[in-house]
Amino acid sequence: MRRIQSAINTASPDFRQNRDHYRRLVAELHEKQSTARHARPERDIARLERQGKMLPRERVEKLLDPGTPFLELSTLAANMDYEGESPGASIITGIGIVSGREVIIHADDSSIKGGAWYPLSVKKIIRCLDIALENHLPVIHLCDSAGGFLPLQSEVFPDRHMAGRIFRNQCLLSKAGIKQLSLVFGQCTAGGAYIPGLSDYNVIVRGTGAVFLGGPPLVKAATGEEVGVEELGGADMHTSVSGTCDYPAASEEEAIAIGREIVAQWDRPQKWACQREEPADPYYDPEELYGILPDDIKKGFDIREVIARIVDGSRFHEYQPNYGTTLVCGFANIWGWKVGILGNNGVLFNDSSLKGAHFMELCNQNNTPLVFLQNITGYMIGQAYERRGITKDGAKMIMAQTCSRVPKFTVMCHGSFGAGNYGMCGRAFDGRFLFGWPGHQIGVMGGEQATNTLADVKIAQMRRNGETFDPEVIEELRETTQSAYLEQLSAYYSTSQIWDDGILDPVDTRNALGMAITSSLNAPLGDSGYGVFRF
């Protein structure tokens, strides 16, 4: 395979301007991540210390094999919700290595409001368990949650994808032979009690860990019975009387040590035989991505320059290099794994859509996972293209993508607008992992177009109602819609809602994809076949 020949001039003023801009974005990202991970009120840290508890991140660190990577997911979930009161949605999730096995970790963050679950906390746990189900990753739950956040209980409890889904997923995991271990560090009350209850293995810490459907105050109110925490649902009662828990631990350290020993007994899943070659670093420096990504969402760039800074040896076998050139398709390797890459180099036309659909079929035939690099303003519009059937060609691309049997991975590099998001495996299409870059934007249309459309609608409405046309009112409307709309387009809004699995510093993309692909191979390939392609 040939090495991509980069045309980037790292000394050019454009490159420097872009680089300075993106470095600021990345610095902002790191700062936000650090705050979400570590900034906590003194009293919360003191409370955990008083209870003899570790900080949730210390638990995760002690659980993982030393010196191994941890791919944290959705670090900035809820960063724009609940007035910032629930950093990381009060949950830590990520993929790491425990006793030599790949696992996914769900840890309640008890340094925030006792680890209470906000609506987005529940969404994040469910996403974690969906990842476990789709990729056959064993789960380790580090339980320390006060339960559902009562003021928002209606958004936590009743619906299909709310708290009940956690327990439903736990059952399906166990049925599929995907193991779960709970380490009970705090009180698991009501629904929360089912997390250890539905885990195949669990460990409970004496003195601080407890499992019960109703805590002492609720029991007293309901039946008048007066009972202490330890007798009602403590470590010794559950491990010697009820059998709800398996192993008592004298301390958090011991619980983690027992947990690691349990994981060491587990068999290792067989990965399917994805083609692999000797891994090699990219020939071009990934840090150059900062200078390649434009400082304006409207400016394009050659996606091959991005591919060259992600794949092994910067080598790329481009498929149909002269056809449908606004969609770049080709084979490469990431961490040695063979992948098929689809990257946008402009609007999707009829030919580029057909090329994309055909290339995905080749990858499904060849058992090659798909990587989508999104920078898309949509499918081409206009009479000439409708007459040529741009809608049905776009439909073919979406059909091939949705029905793909190989694992899919998406990176939101720059713009993700309109139906282009669908064809390129947006969140709704069950890719195994989806990551965003800090400068990306996502929306049904770009900020400018949306603002103009909304203003036009308003003007037409005013005319219809016989109101006098006031340009100042229109200008004000334009400004308020634009700022609200732009906020919702941002990568931070997207990750706040868990529309992705986290924002990546672009230089980390290769390693994140490498870990994600490696994890994905635990689950067998999906079923072959497609629906009806409209020709």
Partner: protein, 166 residues
């Protein structure tokens, strides 16, 4: 399979005739047989036509650094597709890849351009795209200027025709 490489800037062509039981290779028309004798003290030992050689090597992409006979050699393996070049794609025109309008013109008629150099920026569907020169050459003319609109596949820039070899 034929291989092409340069060793310290001298070009060689290799033709591998068989790999087993021993490597038989034709180098620039001369047949050689090579026997792998394993490693000793971190050096690999091979026998070529009865003579023994010790060497060590490190590889970086298509470049191999070789330590042999007290000397360092640099060997570049030549990818047949790189050797074939891009000649087939070079044309005298830059055509619009999509309908749109010209935003910026970066060059002027008569100026030199390099292969891959940006000649003008267009906007279509709210996305700006740089159009680059398909080859080294001289710009003959711009058929569109800033704010002009065009259809897909319309010629926007022409390059001066290169003198043919004949």
């Amino acid at each position: 399979m034929a291989l092409k490489l340069t060793m310290d800037d001298t070009a060689y062509a290799l033709d591998i005739e068989s790999l087993r039981p021993e490597l038989k290779v034709e180098i620039d028309g001369r047949k050689r047989s090579v026997i792998d004798e394993g490693t000793r003290d971190g050096f690999r030992i091979i026998e070529i036509d009865g003579r023994h050689f010790e060497f060590s090597q490190a590889r970086d992409g298509n470049r191999v650094f070789l330590r042999l006979g007290g000397r360092n050699w640099i060997i570049d393996l030549i990818d047949p597709r790189d050797a074939a070049g891009e000649a087939g794609n070079a044309t005298d025109e830059i055509r619009a890849p999509m309908p749109g309008a010209v935003v910026t013109v970066h060059k002027e008629a008569g100026s030199d351009v390099k292969h891959g150099e940006t000649v003008l920026t267009i906007e279509s569907m709210k996305l700006q795209t740089n159009l680059v020169s398909p080859r080294d050459g001289i710009i003959a003319s711009f058929l569109k200027s800033v704010d002009d609109t065009f259809e897909k596949d319309e010629v926007i820039v022409t390059l001066e025709t290169e003198a043919s070899d004949a």
